[in-house]
């Protein structure tokens, strides 16, 4: 029943949306479907334990974390789209909402897979379903961004498939790709094929996740995609692919290949931080900056996996906070774009004076993503640093601190300029728009969620992250 509501219902409603095509009706349907999805997801939280639907699908602790992230993000986007899609009518909107719902089904499927072949199929389908969403505006720039996204991600997906096949070859004595069977018999895997498989899987899924040096699609895509899609991709989709990477780590840790895989994770992490630090400081476009910011946070996530120990806990905690923080900032960027019709930072000045609510959330977003003390990211970044010190990776500590400082400087420069800069009268739009209630409410919800996941961490969340960490065999 739960399975049907989570995956089947969005697919069913997609078909209905393609038949009905009425603007108001499909928006309402979209909202209701996602509301049901959220309620079902939250119902799993009561006394969480491993839920198995069948051999192929099941929910363990990490799936539950990622599923909740996705569900909440889709929920706020489903409110946001009521205001956001009011300018265009007809075909564009029903394609948008149809793809949105089937993307929800695909991403939910990613979180539940217990079979690595099926996991790959689900990840591949998210690429295809998100492409029409990125191309919503159909401008030359958005077509260029969609093309780059499709080509680079499909390439990553192809490498991921190769990695999956190599894994199947290394598990040839088991004759299976079921995650549970592989984890239980990890000692039987052939090491040379497994190593090859891990490299391909990490590069493949890393491309989809946007880790340097395979990140090049990210700023373009996030810069051109509609804001709610940016929110879903940088928060939800990267979370899904992080889950795939987590599965790879799980297999490696069980096969005692930790010493082989950790340096790869650390290298990818530090490289991503470096790329983000270089490009954020001289960024002139807010959305592209968010793209690089996503590269940075993905880097921190894999760095945490690479350092092991307490850093893995921090990494999962960081994934949650990053998702909601990115969601908040992308939706803010969507509001700003609707008011100003410009993307360059130099043209968007004094947001807080003219649009006080949006401006407040913009500044709040700065505090969250740069890891200011009361928010969750401060805690997780500190924990990762602590683990690096404990493991005496001095070079990692050095780079980590330097790059984070540079990135913090870059964020503050751009966002403070946008929020408090002096507005010039000549680039005012003709009509001054009012802040739309449907586009403010999601921001309030996300800010509340951030307070709960970062500051007052509920016990159930705490224990769920503990269980997720335990999946890697670490206490």
């Amino acid at each position: 029943m739960g399975l049907f509501l989570l995956v089947g219902l969005p697919l069913l409603i997609t078909v209905i949306v393609f038949i009905l095509k009425q603007d108001k009706l499909i928006k309402l349907l979209c909202f209701l479907t996602i509301l049901i999805h959220l309620l079902v997801t939250l119902s799993f939280w009561r006394g969480f334990q491993y839920v198995s639907f069948n051999r192929f699908l099941g929910l363990d602790a990490i799936s539950q974390i990622v599923l909740t992230i996705i569900s909440i993000l889709f929920f706020v986007v489903s409110i946001y789209q009521i205001g956001y899609l009011s300018e265009k009518k007809g075909q564009d909107n029903w394609i948008f909402i149809g793809c949105l719902l089937s993307l929800l089904a695909a991403m939910t499927l990613v979180t539940m897979c217990r079979h690595l072949g099926l996991l790959w199929i689900a990840v591949a389908s998210t690429t295809l379903l998100s492409a029409p969403l990125i191309n919503y505006f159909k401008t030359p720039q958005s077509i260029e961004a969609t093309w780059k996204y499709l080509l680079i991600s499909s390439f990553g997906i192809a490498l991921g498939l190769l990695g999956t096949l190599f894994l199947a070859i290394s598990a040839i004595s088991l004759k299976t790709l079921f995650l549970d069977d592989i984890l239980n018999n990890a000692a039987l895997l052939s090491p040379s094929w497994l190593k090859l498989s891990v490299i391909f899987l990490l590069v493949g899924y890393g491309t989809k996740m946007g880790l340097a040096p395979m990140h090049t699609w990210k700023p373009d895509t996030y810069g051109e995609a509609p804001a709610p899609i940016g929110a879903l991709m940088s928060g939800g989709l990267t979370g899904c692919v992080f889950l795939a990477v987590f599965r790879v780590a799980q297999i490696c840790f069980h096969a005692h290949l930790q010493e082989f895989v950790s340096p790869i994770f650390i290298l990818m992490g530090i490289l991503s931080l470096a790329i983000a630090a270089i490009f954020i400081t001289k960024q002139k476009d807010f959305n592209r900056m968010l793209g690089y910011s996503s590269v940075e946070h993905m880097g921190i996530l894999v760095l945490g996996l690479g350092l092991g120990g307490g850093a893995i806990w921090a990494s999962l905690f960081h994934a949650i906070n990053n998702a909601f923080a990115k969601g908040l900032l992308f939706l803010v960027s969507g509001n700003i774009y609707q008011y100003y019709r410009m993307r360059k930072v130099a043209n968007i000045q004094g947001v807080i004076h003219r649009f006080p609510l949006t401006g407040t959330f913009l500044v709040l977003g700065l505090f969250v993503i740069s890891g200011f003390p009361p928010f969750g990211m401060f805690y997780s970044e500190l924990l990762i640093l602590k683990q690096a010190i404990a493991a005496q990776h001095y070079l990692v500590i050095w780079f980590y601190v330097i790059f984070l400082a540079i990135i913090f400087f870059g964020y503050s420069k751009i966002i403070l300029e946008m929020a408090f800069g002096k507005p010039e009268d000549n680039n005012l739009p003709q009509e001054i728009k009012k802040e739309n209630i449907f586009m403010i409410m999601p921001l309030i919800i996300l800010a509340m969620v951030l307070v709960f996941t970062g500051i007052f961490i509920p016990d159930s969340l705490y224990s769920l992250i503990d269980k997720g960490t335990a999946l890697l065999g670490v206490n």
Binding site: L150, L165, I172
Partner: protein
Amino acid sequence: MWLELVLILIIFLGILILGNNRLGSMIQLFALQSLLLSITPLLIQPGLHAGIITIVTILLKVVFMPTLLFWAIRHVSMRWEVYPLIGYGKTLILCGLLMAIAFLISSKLDLPDKSTSYLLVPSAFSIVIIGFLLLVSRFKAITQVIGYLVMENGIFLFALLLLEKTPLLVEIGILLDIFVGALVMGIVVNNINQEFGSASTINLTNLRD
């Protein structure tokens, strides 16, 4: 014996695609390569399972894909690949080098199944490399799609190693991905054409830092 002959022909056709600059003949060569590829399952393990895979592969890779690609180049009215990023001679030399490395690596890996040909793994690697080179060294959107498809052919060869071990599900996944992937790419190529007047990714350079 026959399997080795077919594998060598597949690699040979791959190299021909890489050295070609006419889009039409590239697509024809790709179709021929896919035809040879689709009979390999029957050579490795004759049976109903292999037969189904052969038929599906022929329908998708030999009939459907080339038709779609021909339709796309007629729309775009493009015949030639002009100005490759890396010259044809250089790509071929690079391809030769990488293939030698592929054979070296494959000799180090222990084959899980002794009954299949020892050429299977190195030729699969080689085809993936050829596809990859096509993908990165050309500008035309169509050529990049062909490169991606050639790469998928190489991946298909790897999947053949697991013919009797992998469930049918994974193979459907492979075929489905190729199908939908190229379909969406085709649509986008069409859009590129409307917006820029040519389906060359050389024009896609507005977005950069």
